[in-house]
């Protein structure tokens, strides 16, 4: 609540600063507006930024450091009987102090109650001083920025450079996310690699995490060769793409080249619904409709088909990712310059000849991009595989057998029942890291290829 009031006050100051800056600029300009380098509103923005940025930064810093600061201060000033507690007990006591102070729980002893009062008053004092500093900074920033307004001030350039700093910062979020992902995987992965050699993990061909769950149990030792998982991922993603790419591409071609605009404007969003259906639905569909169908069909043909087959999961996943191919390819096909089509028609090519031999090659980079996105989605999918392809890590290229994928294993390993520091759980992190590295490399290669292609056209 206090924080809310402070923020509101700062926001009010900021908007006030905007007004001040604008009016000041107008005053400086006098009757000739063009004597100003920048528009009055840019002067307003600049004052608002000077007023707001430092103050908000202080508040943000306070929010980030308050807990540890409070902790240090309160612990340092604990009553004697609490101060001599062992570390764990101290942590508990501090926790109780916090609960008492913040949630109003009854205190278990007088010392606690006293510490809680100390905590509360400290917290209040700190907040008030931070609030004072923030407001002072805001006012000072406002005043300083206002004082510096003159006709030649390049307010617009300044505001724009601040905005471009924000833009650059936004684009680094992707980088930081990547770093964050790597960091949140790497430590546990290292622990895993202390137990399982990297070479076994990367090149081993047997994935069988059947190890004892309890130490008093003598279970078999597991093996952690990730090759079957990556092979399974390839197989299932391959089947999915084998469904989605032809269907999606043909649908895209039909929509962009043959269909009436009205047909297209209805069908395209409808197909996009396929991507929005929760994957559980696909999972049930694959496991209860498609898989038995394939099994029965296989039995009729005299093939041995596992109840859980890569084929069933892959087929259904393929349906799910159709819109990625169809919608994005539709866009790029429509963007192929008309002159190329005319070139082919002018030679007496039929529509399909033009499409197959001229339009598609020209749209290839974009189509590859859409397939990449679809493949990304296929690689990341869990539910369908768990439900329809099982969890058995067979190293096989036979789509009629059960296989499993990396993502699926990551999820089952993470939510399983095993000890959290057993290689079984840690393997999830190593798998995540390996998958991350592999897709990163693939994307790098894909970008190169696409760039190369692109250079050839314009």
């Amino acid at each position: 609540m206090q924080l809310f009031i402070l923020t509101a006050a700062l926001l009010a100051l900021i908007s006030f600063g905007y007004g001040v800056g604008r009016r000041r600029a107008l005053a400086v300009a006098g009757p000739n507006l063009r004597s100003l380098h920048s528009l009055p509103r840019y002067h307003g923005y600049l004052v608002a930024l000077w007023c707001g940025l430092p103050a908000l930064a202080v508040v943000a810093a306070w929010l980030a450091f308050e807990p540890s600061l409070l902790h240090a201060l309160v612990i340092g000033a604990l009553p004697a009987d609490l101060a001599q507690l062992s570390d764990e007990r101290l942590a508990l006591a501090y926790n109780e102090v916090r609960n008492v102070a913040r949630y109003g729980h009854p205190a278990s002893s007088d010392s606690i109650a006293e510490a809680a009062r100390h905590y509360a008053s400290l917290r209040q004092t700190m907040f008030l001083s931070v609030a004072a500093i923030a407001v002072a900074l805001a006012v000072a920033g406002l005043a300083a920025a206002r004082a510096r307004i003159h006709a030649g001030l390049r307010a617009r350039n300044r505001v724009e450079s601040i905005v471009s700093i924000f833009l650059i910062a936004a684009s680094t979020v992707a980088i930081f996310t990547t770093i964050g992902i790597v960091l949140s995987l790497v430590f546990e992965s290292l622990r895993f690699f202390q137990m399982v050699p990297v070479t076994e993990f990367l090149f081993g061909t047997s994935w069988s995490p059947q190890m004892a769950i309890r130490e008093d149990q003598v279970g078999s030792s597991g093996s952690f060769g990730a090759v079957p998982l990556f092979a399974g991922t390839m197989l299932i993603a391959g089947i999915a793409l084998a469904v989605a790419v032809p269907l999606g591409l043909l649908a895209a071609i039909y929509m962009s080249e043959y269909a009436a605009p009205k047909f297209r404007s209805v069908v395209k969003p409808l197909l996009e619904v396929l991507a929005g259906i929760p994957t559980v639905v696909y999972g049930f569909f694959a496991a209860l409709t498609v898989a038995p169908f394939i099994r029965d069909l296989g039995a009729k043909l005299g093939l041995s088909v596992a109840s859980e087959s890569a084929l069933a999961a892959g087929l259904v996943m393929g349906i799910m990712i159709i819109p990625f191919v169809s919608s994005l390819s539709d866009d790029v096909i429509s963007a192929v310059p008309h002159s190329l089509r005319e070139g082919a028609y002018g030679l007496g090519a039929t529509k399909s000849e033009t499409i197959k031999q001229v339009v598609l090659p020209a749209a290839l980079p974009g189509i590859v991009g859409s397939i990449l996105l679809a493949a990304s989605r296929a690689i990341g999918e869990t539910m369908i595989v768990v439900m329809a392809a099982g969890l058995a890590a067979n190293l096989t290229a036979n789509p009629l057998e059960a296989v499993t994928t990396v993502t699926t294993q990551i999820v089952t390993l993470l939510v399983g029942d095993q000890e959290f520091d057993s290689p079984k759980t840690l393997a999830a992190f190593a798998l995540g890291l390996a998958l991350f590295g592999i897709t990163l490399a693939l994307n790098g290669i894909a970008l190169r290829i696409v760039n190369k292609y692109r250079e050839k056209y314009d």
């Binding site: 995490p209 130490e215 003598v218 058995a392 000890e419």
Partner: protein
Amino acid sequence: RDQIRVVGSSTVYPFTTAVAEQFGKGGKFKTPVVESTGTGGGMKLFCSGVGPDFPDLTNASRRIKSSEVEFCAKNGVADIVEMKIGYDGIALANSKKAKRVHFTRNHLFLALAKDVPQGGKLVPNPYTMWNQIDPSLPAAKIEVLGPPPTSGTRDSFNEMVMEGGCKSNADMKALNLDDKAHAKACMTIREDGGYVEAGENDNLIVQKLDANPAAVGVFGYSYLEQNADKIQGSFIDGIEPTFDTIASGKYPVSRAMFVYAKKAHVGQIPGIKEFLAEYTSEKAWGKTGYLSDKGLVPMVDAERKEWATKINGLENLKM
């Protein structure tokens, strides 16, 4: 935080949530939040520390391990109250469209182990049809849908069915393996398709059985109870999985369910004591309590009484 937080096993989840709902309806406290994270994940969260950022209770479909107790202690979670809440039977079942099966644990061991003893040594499991093991079994492909090795149910299945079957197997005894090799041979499940790791969604297994009458599924007893019109439990060693056979301990495949509470939070997070009292009340975990409606198999009266005293007295966990 003025709300109890529970994490842990997905198997115990239906029971703890039922208690939580009842507890919340009492109106004195907020309804506890119960997460389904798996036993291991729950333990990690539970043991990570004391304070409102950490859960107050964790569900477990097995007993806590000493390494976990140590980890807890390291993070200041020294005093833990152990609460055994009852049993969950693990049923083997198949579709009602097929005939009911009578297994012995030896059958199951021979059908599902990776290596089986034959001619005085261990050979890769040669059986593909049930009736190859015993002519009394159906002439169907061996296809068992069960939990993956990461699941607690699988662990219990290994211990009670596989190890049990293994011990009763004369050929196995004749091999005279050392303890470790013996255990390994007993507990390693085949990976050639006879056993299908079907994920943790038991409803899906039930529906798959319905669609595939040749298959046998392994899952929690409550799912069998709810779907008794579609599937039938198989006899194991002559015992059918029913509420009574499990409760009396006659049915050989059942495991204890636990909930662990953080003593340090008692009195700090409002309602923990009352929640434990609700859990251990007769109307909850009693013979005809609402938990039994949810499929929990209660302990026998004496055991219940003993645990209730221990729990409500906040007795410390002893390993």
